[in-house]
């Protein structure tokens, strides 16, 4: 596997060495050493929990810049559908798409229709596919990375169909190149994202060699300019037809009204995702055929890079859905023929991140675990995080790996110092 880049950048000048990020990280990828945050990037799943936890902006998403935009002749925005719920009741999707023309893009394209197609494709896939059950969705890249890292045996449960954002980018590029007489490479496609998890899918795509997208901007960083543009020019682009079923799919976090395979559940938030993945792996999660998983508490609406509160955003989007009415759905026969022609397929399967181990490795790993158990028993078990590791167990692991010292624990250190002081106070022996 090639080395991944990462979605999160650390600004050391802003870090004051508090442990908020280290305590918030679900995969225990962050430590504070010498008053600075340090990352074990191989454990990072780009969920963005640290960005939300940091009060000093020392952790930021590595999104695209205006220089990235300028590399292209034609700059196209493809917003996450969550964006449509960010501006209140009276702003329609067409207006938002139009507003991108005032903030440095030449065009913005809707992807709700591709969400509808992917939803239908998943439904058709579930009808025809074989086990292992339950199938797990590919939508949230942070969950995918969590599965690769911590649940490698569940990789075979992933639905091998590409995401709506990649497929939408693929088709938009093809269409725009023909319509405008451009070379496909002259078109820059930028995803407008609610979260950090997507940022790295451009440079390190999952299930394909290269991404169809050229960069990512966050909803948060474009919100101000977009809002001003919408207010100053409420005109809407008329050439964009928004798919109601696509919007509903996002609102229900992937549960499709009218879906044939209704035996599906949506699991949101890291705690619940871990709970369910643990049980699927132990063979005790039976009954559901399809599981939609999202690392954020309320799916993409609670992405760390959104502005509108998740409840308000969902209400606004429901309002849009009510206003737009119910158009006819995409034809199932059309979806099936696209499925058969491999339109939705990944280029190659998602691989688990499991290093091969031999007996020598096993001996070393078990010896390290013994040492770790002994250290855990000797540490205070307060899980205060003051040593820079998020809890005592993680510190014990770091000590065994030679990356921390027993005395990094403040309680241990106080004990050591107290003993030193007592021994100093003892009267010197007569000799």
């Amino acid at each position: 596997m090639r080395k991944r880049s990462h979605a999160i950048v650390i600004d050391e000048s802003r870090c004051n060495g508090c442990v908020a990020c280290s305590m918030a990280c679900p995969t225990r990828a962050l430590r504070v050493r010498n008053n600075l945050v340090r990352a074990k990037w191989e454990r990072c799943i780009d969920c963005g929990a640290c960005i939300s936890a940091c009060r000093r902006d020392a952790l930021r998403p590595r999104t695209s810049t205006s220089a990235d935009l300028e590399r292209f002749k034609l700059r196209v925005a493809i917003p996450s559908l969550v964006l449509y719920g960010q501006f209140g009741d009276n702003v329609r999707p067409g207006q938002i798409l139009h507003a991108f023309r005032s903030i440095g893009f030449d065009l913005a394209c809707d992807m709700s229709w591709m969400c509808e197609m992917v939803a239908a494709a998943i439904d058709a896939y579930l009808t025809d596919c074989r086990g292992p059950w339950p199938k797990i969705s590919m939508t949230c890249p942070a969950v995918l990375r969590l599965i690769q890292l911590e649940y490698p045996s569940l990789v075979s449960h992933l639905i091998p169909l590409d995401t709506a954002r990649e497929l939408a980018a693929k088709l938009h590029r093809r269409r725009i190149a023909v319509e405008r007489g451009l070379d496909p490479g002259e078109i820059g496609l930028f995803y407008i994202s609610p979260c950090t998890a997507l940022v790295d899918t451009i440079e390190s795509p999952l299930g394909r060699r290269t991404s169809h997208l050229d960069g990512v901007f966050s909803i948060a960083e474009l919100y101000g300019p977009l809002l001003r543009a919408v207010k100053s020019n409420p005109e809407a682009s008329s050439d964009e037809v928004v798919s109601i079923r696509g919007l509903r799919w996002v609102l229900a976090s992937g549960e499709i009204p009218g879906m044939r395979n209704v035996n599906s559940i949506t699991v949101k938030g890291l705690r619940d995702v871990v709970y369910v993945l643990d049980r699927i792996e132990s063979g005790t999660f039976v009954g559901a055929d399809f599981i939609n998983t999202y690392i954020c508490d309320d799916g993409c609406f609670s992405g760390h890079l959104t502005i509108a509160g998740r409840y308000a955003a969902q209400r606004y989007l429901h309002h849009v859905v009510r206003q737009l009415g119910d158009p006819p759905p995409v034809k199932e026969s059309r979806i099936r023929s696209l499925l058969q022609s491999h339109f939705f397929d990944l280029e190659y399967p998602i691989e688990p991140h499991t290093p091969a181990v031999d007996l020598k490795d096993l001996r070393e790993a078990t010896a390290r675990q013994q040492q770790k158990n002994e250290l855990c028993a000797a540490l205070p078990g307060k899980d205060c995080g003051a040593c820079g590791a998020p809890n005592c167990e993680t510190l014990a692991g770091d000590i065994v790996e030679g990356q921390a010292a027993f005395g990094d624990c403040p309680f241990v250190r106080i004990g050591q110092l107290t003993r030193e002081i007592v021994s100093l106070k003892e009267p010197p022996r007569q000799g």
């Binding site: 911590e150 490698p152 045996s153 643990d278 049980r279 792996e281 132990s282 063979g283 005790t284 688990p352 499991t354 290093p355 091969a356 181990v357 007996l359 490795d361 096993l362 001996r363 790993a365 078990t366 010896a367 675990q369 013994q370 158990n373």
Partner: protein
């Protein structure tokens, strides 16, 4: 095979009737085995067996100890419980037979698949039980021969 070459040993306590925490030992052991870098299929099969064994204790016994023993080419688990014991082991080993109460069934247990499921996922399996004393399960998974679970 050198069975004296014990690489790792740890004991865990399982409390009977503690549905709240039922499954925690199996989950913890699964984390350990993953940390050792064992093949995902080995981890999966052993985790299924451990989970079933743990839930059997939670449902039927007063308490138990789960002992994990790791050798170079096999993982052995011994679950020793203090409880009523099983009156007819042959009956309990047949799929579909269960003495689960309505409450247990309401919680999704008691399909009568527990013991057969352990046996199916293990490469070695033995059960002993004494009425009024308790039950001991011994099972093992070979780590050098990954196979597909049937």
């Amino acid at each position: 095979m050198d069975r004296d070459d014990l690489l790792y040993r740890e004991r865990f306590r399982i409390k009977g009737n503690d549905f709240e925490r039922g499954g925690e030992v199996a989950t913890h052991v699964k984390g350990l085995l993953k940390g050792f870098g064992l093949h995902p299929e080995i981890v999966r099969r052993l985790s299924i067996a451990n989970f079933e064994a743990e839930m059997n204790v939670v449902m039927y016994a007063e308490e138990a100890e789960l002992e994990l023993l790791l050798f170079p080419n096999l993982i052995r688990v011994v679950v020793t419980d203090r409880g009523d014991g099983i009156a007819d082991i042959d009956w309990a080993m047949r799929e579909g037979n269960s003495t689960a109460t309505a409450e247990m069934r309401a919680r999704g247990f008691g399909a009568g698949l527990g013991l057969p499921n352990i046996k199916r996922n293990a490469d070695e399996f033995a059960i002993e039980s004494t009425l009024g004393v308790g039950t001991t399960l011994r099972y093992a998974v070979f780590t050098d021969r990954p196979r597909d679970a049937s």
